[in-house]
Structures are given as C-alpha cells and as structure tokens.
Amino acid sequence: MENRGITFGYGFLSQESSFDVQFSLIEYDGSHSYFRAYLVGLLNTILVSVIGIIFATIIGVVIGIARLSNNYLINRTAGVYVEFFRNIPLLLQIFFWYFAALRALPLPQDTEPMFGVFFLTIKGFFVPAFVWNNLDVFIYSIIAAIISIIFIRIYAKKKQENEGIQTPVLSISIGLLFILPILSFLFGGVDASVEIPVIKQLSQSGFTYEGGIKLPPELISLALALSLYTATFIAECVRAGVQGVSKGQKEAAASIGLTPNQVLKLVVMPQALRIIIPPTTNQYLNLTKNSSLAAAIAYPDLVLVFAGTALMQTGRAIEIVSITMLTYLSLSISISIFMNWYNKKIAIKEK
C-alpha cells in the first residue's frame, strides 16, 4: 500500500464534501462534511427499508393467507404471484419498474390528479403534506397513549393471573390511541392543514409541482420492487407458520371451551408466530441488504452516496468500503443477536 502512495486514516470524514445529493431527509449540500453525506445515505437506506418492510409485510401476510384459502382461484392466484415474483432477479425487477413502467407515466403538465390531490408523474409522486402547528404536543400525546397502553396491559395480565378476570385491553388501547391525540387537537393547540401540490412552470416546456411531498421515482420503484419481491418470501413464511400448527391443538383448545376468537388469539397465533417470526426477520434483513441495489438506479442510498460518490472523490477505498461494510454488518449482527435472544425466549421449554 505504501508504495502506491496510499495513506490510511479517517480524517477525511470531517472535510467538506462538495457534492450534492438529489434526495435527502436531513439538510445537506456540498458545504457539509463527508460524515454528513454518510448520514444522508444511511437515512435514505433506512427510509427505503422501512417503507419496503411495511409494504412487504402487508402484501406477504395477505398472499400467505390467500395461499391457505380453500378457494381454488384465490389459492392459484396467490401461488402464481409467489412463483412469478420470486423467480425473477430483484435487480431486473427494479430496472423494470424504473426504466420501463414508471417511464411510461405522463409528464407533470398532462397528469390527471388522483382523488384531486395525488399527482403520479414521470418526475415522481407528489402527495399533499401536512403543515403542523405544535407538532411536539401531538407526538407527546401519542407517546403518552402508548405508555399508558403498556401499563394497562401489564395491569390486565396481573389481574387475570390473580383474579381470573379478563379486561377488554384491545378496545381500551384503541380508544386511548384515538382519544389522547384528539384531546391534543382540542386543548393542546395542535393544528394541521393540508398543503396540496400545485403545478408550476419552470421553462417553456418544463413543469413541476410545488408544495407537498415529492417522492422521487427512484424511491418508488425501489420500494415497489423490494416489497413485491420480499413479500413472496414472507408469504411462504406465513403459510409455513400457519400450516405448522397441528390440527389437534385447535381441536383441543375448542374442546376445553375456548371461543373461536380465543382459540386464534391464545393457541394458534402464539404457536404460528413462533415459526413465522425468525425467518421473517431474516427476510427483513435481506430486504435491508438488498436495498443497496439502489446504486443501480441512482437512488442516493448508503452505497451510492458513500461507497460511490464519496469514494470516487476521495479515493479512500479501504476506509470507505470498510465503513460501509461495518454499517451493514453491525445492523445484521444486532438483528441476529436479537433473534437469538428471541428464539431462546419463545422456544418450547422441554424438560
């Protein structure tokens, strides 16, 4: 290394980065440091992963349950979906959505609004944004609701163990989750208004929308491909989990007089979740790692911003690649430590 004139050190992180990033969650421009560029990339990675995880879970659970349906058509449709999206490389799917499907969208000036407020254009998806007054009070109210729900759950569990009386925890929780934020609107001075995107002319033929939130096409196609692809794997996990609960368990639970709801809640779900959750967490991890494919369509994630642009500018390959790998590594190791702990906790205690 020495004879190639390469020095080693992490001092460059505080230098001025002098490159711009298209899309960032925190304030960033060329005058910020490389470390901030790293943060921008990391946040973008987390953003697309979280969006992907949420949608993949929803689609995956729906498809997984559909796979278990005794309706032939639903069953087959779900099966075709799983086979189709699972057997095509993720990169190809991302390219398909980005270069083929989303490029077929209309220009901003020709776009028909969906429900009057959403604009799906070739330049991105424009959605209305909320403009908040006293947002912090609103967030505090939600936090307070969640904490009180936790306490109520603990109390209800204790009460059931001591006295055998069940408390309607679910309805109380939902009520709290709605009432406290509403109270914050009424008394806390919280106020929200909606900002609808408005079309604006940039030049003779260039148009864009102003106001609201802009979701760039890179983000949309990446999140779409990631969630559609990962959903197939989650669907298989869900199916395996529900099928893994033996019929005898359900019959035994019914025979001791539990209602169908109680059978599902107290007997089937805990056992199914024990099978479902470990592989599903693995899929979440895979999704996060797969989000690094963003570099292929220029979505500014960690790999593109840091291991791409910053590496080209500084030439510090070893430092940058090692930081990038360490980031992903610490993410996955922390999740796998958590999974091991969780596995131990829920494992059947055999004598």
Binding site: R4, L73, T77, I88, L92, V321, Y328
Partner: protein, 480 residues
C-alpha cells in the same frame, strides 16, 4: 311445487335455482367479456356506477343461488367446494375471473396481436404492441455480450459439450454409478474449466497453473503403483518436487511461447457477456460455494476454538454485508493488497467474491441439517470406531444433506438471481446488456420489451431449477 326461498336455496327446487343461477353468472361474464374483447357495452343505458357494478352483483346473486349442498350433481358440487364456499369466497372468485377477462385483451394485443417481429430496423415497429424486432436484432448481444460474432460457435460448442457431459450421469451403468460423485465433484468442474479457459477464452495451453496440473496428473498416475504404506509421504513429496522441476528446470519460459494456440483468437473476459456469462458465473460459483460452505459448517461445529471462531467469523461477516459491497471490495479494494506486478482477472475476482458470499449461506443451511440429526447418530457412528472424517462422510453428511436439499436449492437459486449484480465491476451479463442496448440512440424506447424478455428467461431457468430440486427432494425422501 315447493315454496321458493331465494335467500336459502335448497335441493327441493334444484332445477329452478340452478337455471336462474347459471343464467345470471353467464350473463355477468358475458357482459364483461363483450366489454373487454369487443368494446361493446350492452348495459350502456344504466347510470355509470350501476353499470360498473352490475356484472358483479348479477354474478354474486347467481353464485348464491347455485350454492346448494349435496345437490347430487358432481360438477356443481366441485364448483361449490372449490370456488363458492361462502359469500365472501364467491365475491373474490368473481373478482378474479373478471380481472382475468379484463386484462387478457390488452396483454394479448401487446404480446402478440399488435406486436411486430418482421423486418430488421426500428421503423417496422409501428403498432401499439411490443417490438420483438428489437429482441431479434439484439439477440446475439443478449446471449453472447461483446463476444465477436464470428467466434460465437465456440461458446455454443462448449455449452453443448458441457451439457452433454453433465447428463452422463443418467446413462451410467450400474458398474460406473459409484464413480459418479467423484466425476461430478472433481472431474467435471476441471473439464468445464478447461473448456472455458482454452476454448471460450482461447487461452494458451501452458499457463502458470499448467505445471501444477501436469504435476498432479503425473503423480496420481504413478501413485497407483506405489504401495499404500508409503502413499502418504509420496503424495506430500512427489507433486511438489515435480512442480518445481517442471517449472524451473525442464520447461520454464519456452513452453508458454510454445503453447499459444494460434488457431483460436484470444477473447478477453471483458468482452464476454449476455446469458452465457450468467451461466459461466453461476456454474463456477455453484461448484465452489458448496465445498467451502460445507467446510465452514463443519468448522462451526468443530471442537477446536480457532477453527470454530474462524468459521463463525467468516459466516457472519459474509452474511452480514450486501453482495454489492462485496463486489465493490473485490474491484476497488482487493487489487491494493496484491503485489504490484500481479493481476487477477476481473471475472475470477467476481467468481471468488460471489462464491465466498454464497458459501456462508450454504454453510448456515447445512448447519441446520447437521443440527437436525439426533445425537444418537453421532454416538452410534463413534461406537463403531469411526473417526471424524469417516463418521461425517459415511453417516452424518448423507443424512444431513438429504434434509437440506430445499435450503441448498434456494441458496443456489439466490445465487443465479444475484449474478446480474456483476454489472458493478463492469461485466455485462444479460441484464447489463439490456441496459446497454436500451441507451443505444437507434433503439431508444424499447426498455419494456427487453426487460420482459429477460424476465421470461430468468423465470424459466429459476422455475425449472426449483421444480428440479422439488423432484430431488421427493426422490431422496425417506421416512424417519
């Protein structure tokens, strides 16, 4: 005549319910069919929202009417059992049928009816459908990358020969069956490597490793005549001596000059590409990642702390990072650690990187199989006096590997699907070639056709692989 109760159809008025129901369902499907295939709206006189929902409502009522338990008609019963068990199911079934009918015409017209395949320039693609001419013109590029057109027979011939050699196992007689494993694990990969190195790449016959290979072959041949008492020492000493003798005393540089085949043009790996590169990369990664993964999984369960923690470290490291950063590392970081005059080909680096990466996943899958075996198997093997290797090769691994066939197949599938990622180091397999072709100024605007084409190819390959693994699983399934 019994009283008709349309809310609860029963068997007494079977025919009445049946005819009404079938007519209603048929009518609803007919409306949607006419609308979607012939663009005719026969219920145009109704207000908008009603005419939109009318087929759904009609079909729903119809399906409700034919839902009669134990009707005695076989066909009706099977319909009721499969798609019409309750109102919700009936509704979903109708929805799916309507969506299929609705989406068929546009798909058909895009794929076939309005598509163009004749001609050899962009101008023939005037229809609103797909332009398969684009695929036809670029087909060679998508298959072979930048490989010179005149030399492509070399790839074809190698692949056909390798495919033939690969299927030899099916024709082997009982006598040779026991050598099959050796053949597939040791001989076949070497043959494949020779084919690809000499034939596809057109490399010189004598390159650095040739001495090693010659030394190994000669020493194995002589090895058959050595008494087994000395075999151990023989196999340590002779190959190394032979290698040194060959390299520095007998041949040295002359052979390299001598060995250059003038007949075949040298094609550097940068020009390889397309689907053939996908096959080459996946083939070698498959071959390398399996043994590495096997050793890692055994190492993870080893009693020696050094081996154990080394294996754990390797597995967790490769599993923890995304493949794209591994490839980045192999292309920008790895060359820095090499001596200055040493150069390792891009393709080789990529294959090493992907193999190590997938080996970690294979290791975890195999570990699952090893853990699933009851302790009794280990104890029984040990009590027969078997050593570590004998126990694993004869007792443990055959059972463990059988258990994890689906998992290994999944990992291999993931490997094949990961190969497009090699675009980050500048190797263009089929997806990379598509992206290149898409930016060609003469052929702008055909991204969709290209991606659909590649998707179909990948789907066929991966689906066939998964079906094959399922067959394998069934074949080796033993009741325990």
């Amino acid at each position: 005549m019994n009283k008709l109760n349309f809310l609860q159809p029963d068997k007494n008025n079977l025919n009445t319910y049946l005819y009404t129901g079938v007519i209603l369902v048929a009518l609803s499907i007919f409306i949607v069919f006419l609308n979607s295939f012939f663009n005719k709206d026969i219920i145009y006189f109704l207000p908008g929202s009603i005419s939109f929902f009318l087929p759904l409502i009609l079909g729903f009522i119809g399906l409700h009417l034919i839902r009669i338990d134990y009707s005695g008609l076989k066909f009706l019963d099977s319909i009721n059992k499969n798609i019409n068990t309750n109102n919700f199911n009936a509704f979903l079934s109708l929805l799916i049928v309507f969506v299929i009918i609705k989406s068929l015409p546009p798909l058909l017209s895009w794929f076939i009816l309005d598509a163009n395949i004749a001609g050899d320039s962009k101008d023939v693609c005037t229809g609103s459908g797909a332009c398969w001419t684009y695929i036809k013109i670029w087909f060679n590029r998508f298959m072979y990358g930048m490989y010179p057109n005149a030399e492509q027979w070399r790839i074809n011939l190698s692949f056909i020969a390798l495919a033939f050699l690969g299927t030899i196992g099916f024709f082997a007689t009982e006598k040779f069956k026991k050598y099959l494993t050796l053949y597939y694990v040791a001989v076949y990969p070497v043959i494949a490597f020779f084919f690809i190195f000499f034939f596809i790449s057109g490399g010189p016959i004598f390159f650095d490793f040739s001495y090693g290979i010659i030394a190994a072959v000669i020493s194995i041949i002589i090895g058959f005549f050595i008494p087994s008492k000395f075999k151990m020492y023989y196999f340590i000493i002779v190959p190394i001596t032979l290698y040194i003798l060959l390299k520095y005393v007998f041949f040295y540089e002359e052979l390299i000059e001598l060995g250059k085949l003038e007949a075949l043009e040298w094609v550097e790996t940068g020009a390889w590409g397309g689907l053939s590169l996908t096959f080459i990369v996946s083939f070698f990664c498959l071959i390398f990642c399996f043994p590495i993964g096997l050793f890692l999984s055994l190492g993870r369960r080893s009693d020696f702390p050094i081996i154990k923690y080394f294996s754990i470290g390797m597995i967790e490291f490769w599993r923890g990072v995304p493949l794209i950063t591994v490839l980045f590392m192999s292309s920008v970081m790895f060359p820095m650690f090499l001596p200055e005059d040493m150069f390792i080909d891009k393709l080789v680096r990529v294959i090493i990187a992907i193999s190590l990466f997938e080996a970690a996943y294979v290791a975890e899958v195999i570990r699952g199989g090893l853990q699933a075996l009851p302790r009794g198997q280990y104890d029984a093997a040990k009590s027969l006096g078997m050593g570590y290797w004998k126990m694993h090769i004869l007792v443990i691994l055959p059972q463990a590997l059988k258990l994890v066939i689906p998992g290994i197949a999944n990992t291999f599938l993931a490997l094949v699907k990961d190969t497009p990622l090699i675009f980050v180091v500048g190797l263009l397999e089929i997806v990379g070639m598509l992206n290149l072709a898409k930016t060609n100024p003469e052929w702008l605007g055909f991204a969709m056709e290209g991606y659909v084409f590649a998707s179909v190819l990948f789907f066929i390959i991966c689906y066939a692989m998964s079906k094959y693994s399922y067959n394998l699983e069934q074949k080796y399934k033993t009741e325990r």
